[in-house]
Symmetry: C2
Subunit: 397 residues, 2 copies
Amino acid sequence: MNRDPLAGLVVIDLTRILSGPFCTMILADFGARVIKIESPEKGDDARMIGPFIKGQSAYFMSVNRGKQSVTLNLKAPEGRNLLKELMAGADILVENYRPGTMEKWGLDYEKVRALNPRLIYASVSGFGQGGPYAKLPAYDIVVQGLSGLMSITGPEGGAPTRVGTSIGDIVPALFTTIGIMMALFHRSLSGEGQRLDIAMLDGLVAILENAIARYQVNQEIPEPIGNRHPSITPFDSFVVRDGHIIVAVGNSKLFEDLCRVLEIPEVAKDIRFKENVDRHENEKQLKSLLEQALSGYTQAEALTRLGQAGIPCAPINTIDRVVEDPQVLARQMVVEMEHPIAGILKLAGIPIKMSGTPGSIKKPAPILGQDTEQVLKELLGKTQEDIEGLRRNHIIG
Amino acid sequence: MNRDPLAGLVVIDLTRILSGPFCTMILADFGARVIKIESPEKGDDARMIGPFIKGQSAYFMSVNRGKQSVTLNLKAPEGRNLLKELMAGADILVENYRPGTMEKWGLDYEKVRALNPRLIYASVSGFGQGGPYAKLPAYDIVVQGLSGLMSITGPEGGAPTRVGTSIGDIVPALFTTIGIMMALFHRSLSGEGQRLDIAMLDGLVAILENAIARYQVNQEIPEPIGNRHPSITPFDSFVVRDGHIIVAVGNSKLFEDLCRVLEIPEVAKDIRFKENVDRHENEKQLKSLLEQALSGYTQAEALTRLGQAGIPCAPINTIDRVVEDPQVLARQMVVEMEHPIAGILKLAGIPIKMSGTPGSIKKPAPILGQDTEQVLKELLGKTQEDIEGLRRNHIIG
């Protein structure tokens, strides 16, 4: 058996920027042939988003590794016909246009299904294909705001805060990938394709976790609470001599251990801090006592001392430390790849470690249109003459 | 065909708290029979985490819907033998014990594979099964700190900030689900099971997105930058008369539209704000001009005005608004379910909308041990007498 679980599958990738491309990157890492369709003039908008290395967008290169690039002018009927020919032979289609665009081009699911009933047709959009907001524009920060996620992130008593990575794109990308895999599994049993409709807003509402539960139980509107946990104490960042450390104490046994190693056994015996519910109620007083005890230590000293006692703790790493962290490197979670123009590029590795079908990063992100000829010849049987005609008519780049 | 893509599959669920349970919840929503194994005394630790409704943890109930609960004393050899019998007939095993625990119990992958080579055996842990940190304890905030995610989240110039939902658990849960589905797809072709090894830290490193790219290109360490985007401007929250709104302008055409509806056409013509790169360089001056123009509007007025002009914008919703948002309700992303003790409970809906195999929320989270007898009789052929003997010996609850 091939060790890439998706080997032999063809993905037509009509996605741009981040949410769709993150999904098709995973499919490529696990062996699918991902054919990215781009406009001949400028391609994916992400190619224009910095930072740049020798004119190449590091942003684009980081989420489009392992894909092929085919340019097609979808504004011309002939371009759309070529796309239909590609769809007819594909296993999966992923698109993240504004709802209504695929319909406008005559490429909506019902039409495409008539060509290829086995196709899995996945749409990722801001709000989904239906409902009152369906046609509204959305970006990561728009859904971070609407979903309530920003309202529960931020310093205690402070303003709502955007999560510093675009999880409004990435989380729905992961749900889309799960859906595509479920659809593939179903197809392997039934022979039938289907339509997926994933919304960025839905994806963030699905991960609000205990915020929905807390609101309905207490009728108190959850607010930003800094770094502490909404129901477990102490579970927070703490000031030490030269910065901050994180300490996460999930039960009373660990709390006793913590007080012992910090040489404040009286705090462990204090009735105000006996059980988690007591500690949580008296969180501010406890934090102040713990920070007093920690004030004599540097980060390194405190982490060593707590770590040796088996207390969950961590530094707050900056990115320069993350890319050199021994565990991150041991797990191959930051890897290097050579791009033909940009040179050596650091990329995030593959977080799905599988013993039988491990996947791998296949090749760097494509130059715009680099695979147009090869794909049209190989998959659609076009001749060199056809290719030249298409190029003359500005159907391909 | 059954409309649940995972119908007929048996999942042995040895997970607790959040990361593993979130994964098996998705499997249950799509029709797998998820058998949650819990300790007879107290079960999943999450049953003790508040808030509570009539003594039932809303936290536990929100991520364990649709599962069965079987109590087994895994400290007793007889309990582990029953677990092995269950594993022998299962399709998927998910566990999130500290690495080394399954080995200690003689339940490591190599041993279980000998019983059932078709089994997909998925482990979720803080740092993965190998590497220098493998045996260290981890919680969400520990990996949020180590991964660099906190270092890029927070107010501009302020302290690193925890993301207000436990994405250190949830993101790896989604990667685990993708891996399980890939392994199932592979098994449908090859007949072979395999081992998955997912780390919470890996999951967060994988979603750092442009932070790794920015660091390697500029050698500047990314820091918290509040709500603005690291490379697109204006893309931020803005003060209006009665709060904040979000405005996300991805290109110069939209920027002109924004200036037009805010009646500041001179700003659109200002050389400092011509292209995105200019706007980004002069972000502070631009923000001040935009907030001046927005200061006359309430949130509602500003959103109506901008929305009509097609400019991506949004309120920063609090959770009370999210659970009543018309789009969230239209997409069934907050649903109600009746629990036999707690009564009506609001839960997040299913964000993977599939036309052919849509999945559904099957039933409320189980009472501790409610399915022990039925599962042992049905899947292992135990008699009433066997059950009583096991109960007398404290092997089951």
